[in-house]
């Protein structure tokens, strides 16, 4: 149970960074964008989004400022910082390497051993 949470949490951080890297977003926007990119295949607990945003901001990967939303309301917009950009890069590389590795392992057939 706990292990799964950890994994999810790490992934969520990466997804948020990716979402924000495409342009400043408010919290709700982050949610929508992730759903949009994932073509609604990924469900995100709304409640867990904000702690993640606060944590990323606290760590300096993203920064926020208050702005106006599409429907003329005050909203807090998050954007990627320089450090966040680097972080996203290394995280993506790590993820890709890991994915390749796992894929390689899972794709192994009996003949190849």
């Amino acid at each position: 149970m706990d292990k799964q949470m950890d994994l999810l949490q790490g992934t969520l951080d990466m997804l948020i960074l990716k979402a924000v890297s495409l342009g400043p977003l408010h919290g709700y926007g982050v949610l929508l964008r992730i759903q949009q990119i994932s073509k609604d295949r990924l469900e995100i607990q709304q409640g867990s989004l904000y702690p993640a945003l606060y944590r990323l901001e606290h760590q300096g990967w993203i920064a926020s400022e208050w702005g106006e939303s599409e429907n003329k309301r005050r909203a807090k917009y998050y954007h990627l910082t320089a450090a966040g950009k680097r972080r996203l890069q290394t995280e993506s590389q790590k993820w890709n390497r890991m994915a390749e590795l796992i894929e390689g392992i899972l794709g192994t057939t009996a003949e190849e051993v």
């Binding site: 919290g27 409640g47 867990s48 904000y50 993640a52 606290h58 939303s69 429907n71 005050r74 450090a83």
Partner: protein, 877 residues
């Protein structure tokens, strides 16, 4: 950079908390509203959309809490919350809070007071630069006749000084020496120290004015210089800046003032320092303390090793045994504090017990209150508060209480320390001037308070937050915390046990003091006034002059109104001094090792002191220099020398090889007298009339004793006038015999009194504790009692039910405490007089006293239980 970012976000969150909070609110509200709008757009009704948005979002408060956590603000943040909440809770129950604070203030205050003394006397460094490098060099045996006295004989000192490699310098000095000072105000007996010229350089303290001693000063002819203490300079010379070069007279010898020490310098408890040269004397060898400053980087162990080697290679003196020597390198402070350390540590232990009892009491209070808060805790924990969070909340509350207790304790300690120093036996507590409440003491009290808060708070906190949530909620308000009962009983048993240990210690000390006071000293001290003189040999140049002084003083004293009889003795009984010596018996042999005290007395002394004459006659005026030599012996001398014969008429001599005229005839036998102290054995004595004593050494120090018709103090003025008439240069030292005896028992009395005070505080706290537990138990069981009574139980049955519980607690506590007391009172052995540390009567008396007090504490709860009205009790159901 990122660190900075974190700090800024943390600061933001901490300092601008309300803004951050409102922004967080706004952000989450925006989220939910935006989502709801989307839902409305998809065709959901507005209200339904809002509801769904909220539900899908999940726990908003929890998300907020996690957001706060994410920014790392929670610890301080919630601590502040806990503090505010804690204060509010404590304010809501002021009675409870006050009782808890007062209890802890007693415990912490007693500990602070004792720690203040321990800190000042034992812990604070000596007031010298780099005092940690100052050590005493000692070759003396650890236990001497007058307690522990470190020292090195002159011969060994010179030898050690020549070959020593580990010390920068060493210096020898005297302790406890006094001199009669004249030439600066009234004559007075003042403490002086003879010190070698290296003394001030070893301590690295130079006179604030003038100079210290030069090498070679102290040799005969060059030793007539002195250095004054700052205090003496202010007292006697009104801080005269022209004091250098002036002369003062010490024991009649003129000495020139060459320096004044800086304020506060009084080591070793002296007001004047006189140079001393160490020379080897054919006949005498003095043993004096020696202080040395270790070379930088040299460990005391190295010095110890060097001294041991030195001691091994040292030839033995005549009559000296290897075992008489004990090479030791000791911290300098021990010279002053070694004798008081054990009793201070006993006091420290006693107050620690008091604090433990206070803790147990307050823990009980908190447990009782916790029962009422079980529901609060259950509600909070079902709303998602983690257990450690609740525990922390409760610990914050208990620490708040203990900190308040500590603050009040410091006030108590302030008075306590004053009381302690005022009651402490005069002259028995060294470094008294170092005792004060300083930063270390405050830090100690703060630390102690925090620890106390956690110690007494932990059990109630853990107990209260045990996972009872469902039970507590379902029982709706009725407390169900049964585990408390066991903890409370355990706490009460420990309180009783701790009290018993303290009471036993106090009981033993008290018994010891009473026995000491009941000791028959061999004389009758009531209505006796004493006056002591020290005749300087510079003015009184021989036995004849001194005898003339004594004769005239005695005549004048006996003529005073109110004086029944006057007498004199060189060293007064219980004064702590005695002159032991050998003698020869005519036609017989002195048993090996049998030495006697040789007081030199006047006619009338036995009557004035109330020493009973058993046989023969006392001395009279006719036993003078021209009459045949006579002595009076004490009973034990008579018994030892002539067990079967009449001692009167037998002859002895004080000379080793008596000539015919040296034989002295025994004319009387008197009772034995305690010379060294009430706790010591009586000493066999051979008395000589002062007119027949030729050595000025036995005549210069003399104590006059007068037996008075009424209160002894009534003749004090008259005695003073007599002394001034006879010799106006004599300092006046007058005291009643009773008060002299009181000073010899002062230490024991002080220890007994202090331990008794702590034990009574402990007992009072314990009684409160027992009362609390039983009262709580009665309150809890009101319904049960009601039911029982409704079913026919008599009030006697109810009483027995309660008493049974009390008796179990009390007997368990007494068993445990008895075992603890047996183990611990052994530490008191060296303070006890004629009482064994396991004295059965004392133990029994203390147990009975404690049991009765404990039962008395049961009275109120028992009465309440017996008056329970079944109707009222049952109506609560």
């Amino acid at each position: 950079m990122r660190i900075w970012n974190r700090i800024r976000s943390w600061l933001d969150a901490t300092l601008r908390r309300s803004r951050v909070e409102s922004e967080m609110d706004a952000e989450l509200r925006f989220h939910i509203e935006a989502y709801a709008e989307d839902l409305v757009r998809r065709g959901v009704v507005h209200q339904e959309a809002m509801r769904r948005a909220r539900i899908e979002f999940g726990g908003i408060e929890r998300a907020k809490e996690e957001c706060r956590d994410a920014r790392g603000v929670t610890f301080l943040e919630t601590l502040f919350q806990d503090l505010r909440f804690g204060l509010r809770m404590l304010r809501k129950s002021p009675g409870f809070t006050a009782v808890a604070i007062i209890t802890l203030a007693l415990g912490i205050g007693a500990n602070t007071a004792i720690f203040t003394v321990v800190n000042g006397v034992l812990l604070r460094p000596m007031p010298f630069p780099e005092a940690h490098r100052l050590f005493l060099v000692s070759l003396a045996a650890r236990v001497g006749p007058l307690g522990w006295a470190p020292g090195v004989s002159d011969r060994d000192y010179l030898a050690f000084r020549d070959q020593d490699q580990t010390f920068e310098r060493i210096a020898s000095f005297t302790i406890g020496t006094t001199a009669n000072m004249t030439g600066a105000g009234d004559p007075a007996q003042i403490p002086v120290a003879y010190v070698t010229t290296e003394f001030f350089p070893v301590l690295r303290t130079n006179p604030g004015m003038g100079r210290g001693f030069l090498a070679g000063e102290g040799e005969p002819g060059k030793d007539n210089v002195v250095v004054l203490s700052n205090e003496l300079w202010k007292e006697r010379f009104s801080a005269d800046s022209e004091v250098l070069g002036k002369t003062i007279r010490l024991d009649g010898v003129s000495r020139t003032v060459i320096g004044v020490m800086p304020p506060g310098f009084a080591f070793p408890d002296a007001k004047v320092w006189i140079p001393l040269a160490i020379r080897i004397d054919e006949h005498n060898s003095f043993t004096r303390p020696v202080v040395g400053r270790l070379k930088p980087g040299v460990a005391p162990q190295q010095a110890q090793a060097e001294l041991e080697t030195f001691s091994e290679n040292l030839p033995l003196g005549p009559g000296e045994n290897k075992r008489d020597r004990m090479p030791q390198i000791i911290p300098l402070k021990d010279l002053l504090v070694a004798n008081i350390r054990p009793s201070l540590l006993v006091f420290a232990g006693a107050v620690a017990f008091v604090l433990l009892i206070a803790c147990a009491n307050v823990a009980n209070l908190f447990l009782a209150r916790a029962a009422g808060r079980g529901q609060e805790m259950a509600v909070r924990s079902s709303l998602g508060a983690a257990r450690w969070r609740l525990v922390r909340q409760l610990l914050v509350e208990s620490t708040l209480v203990s900190l308040a207790g500590g603050a009040a304790g410091i006030l108590l300690a302030f008075w306590g320390v004053r009381g302690l120093t005022a009651l402490a036996p005069a002259g028995k507590v060294p470094r008294m001037e170092m005792i004060r409440i300083d930063a270390w003491v405050l830090a100690f009290t703060f630390g102690l308070s925090v620890i106390t808060g956690i110690v007494f708070g932990l059990a109630p906190a853990l107990q209260t937050t045990r996972n009872h949530a469902r039970k507590a909620l379902s029982k709706a308000g009725r407390s169900v915390i049964t585990g408390h009962e066991r903890i409370r009983s355990a706490l009460t048993i420990s309180e009783i046990a701790l009290s018993l240990v303290l009471l036993t210690g106090a009981g033993l000390m008290l018994e010891s003091f009473l026995r000491l006071r009941a000791v028959n000293p061999g004389f009758w001290p009531r209505s006796v006034m004493t006056m002591t003189v020290d005749l300087p040999d510079s003015t009184y140049r021989g036995a004849r002059q001194m005898q003339a002084f004594h004769t005239r003083t005695l005549e004048e004293l006996s003529r005073l109104p109110g004086v029944l009889v006057a007498g004199a003795v060189d060293w007064i009984p219980l004064g702590g001094e005695l002159t032991m010596g050998t003698f020869q018996v005519e036609g017989g042999r002195r048993p090996r090792g049998f030495m006697v005290d040789k007081p030199c007395i006047s006619p009338g002394y036995f009557k004035a002191m109330g020493i009973q004459l058993l046989l023969g006659r006392e001395f009279t005026e006719r036993d003078n220099a021209t009459a045949p030599g006579v002595v009076v012996v004490s009973q034990s001398v008579a018994r030892t020398l002539w067990p079967d014969a009449d001692p009167v008429g037998k002859r002895i001599s004080m000379e080793d090889e008596p000539k015919p005229e040296d034989w002295l005839t025994v004319v009387g036998v008197v009772e034995d007298v305690k010379q060294k102290g009430l706790a010591k054995n009586s000493d066999p004595a051979i008395y000589q009339p002062y007119l027949q004593v030729l050595s000025p050494g036995f005549l210069s120090h003399m104590t006059f004793v007068v037996r008075t018709a009424s209160r002894p103090e009534s003749v004090a003025t008259g005695m003073r006038t007599v002394l001034r008439d006879v010799d106006k240069n004599q300092p006046i030292s007058i005291a009643s015999m009773d008060s002299l005896i009181a000073t010899t028992t002062a230490e024991t009395r002080f220890q007994a009194r202090l331990l008794a005070t702590f034990a009574l505080i402990a007992l009072a706290l314990t009684m409160v504790g027992i009362y609390g537990v039983l009262a709580y138990s009665v309150a809890q069981r009101t319904q049960e009692i009601g039911v029982r009574m409704a079913l026919g139980a008599q009030s006697g049955d109810v009483l027995w039910m309660l008493l049974r519980k009390a008796l179990v607690l009390i007997s368990a506590g007494i068993l445990m405490g008895g075992a603890g007391a047996l183990a611990l009172t052994r530490l008191l052995t060296k303070f006890l007089f004629e009482v064994k540390a396991t004295d059965l009567p004392t133990f029994s008396a203390v147990v009975v006293f404690l049991a009765l007090s404990a039962l008395a504490a049961c009275y109120l709860p028992a009465r309440r239980a017996m008056r329970v009205d079944p109707m009222v009790a049952l109506r609560y159901e």
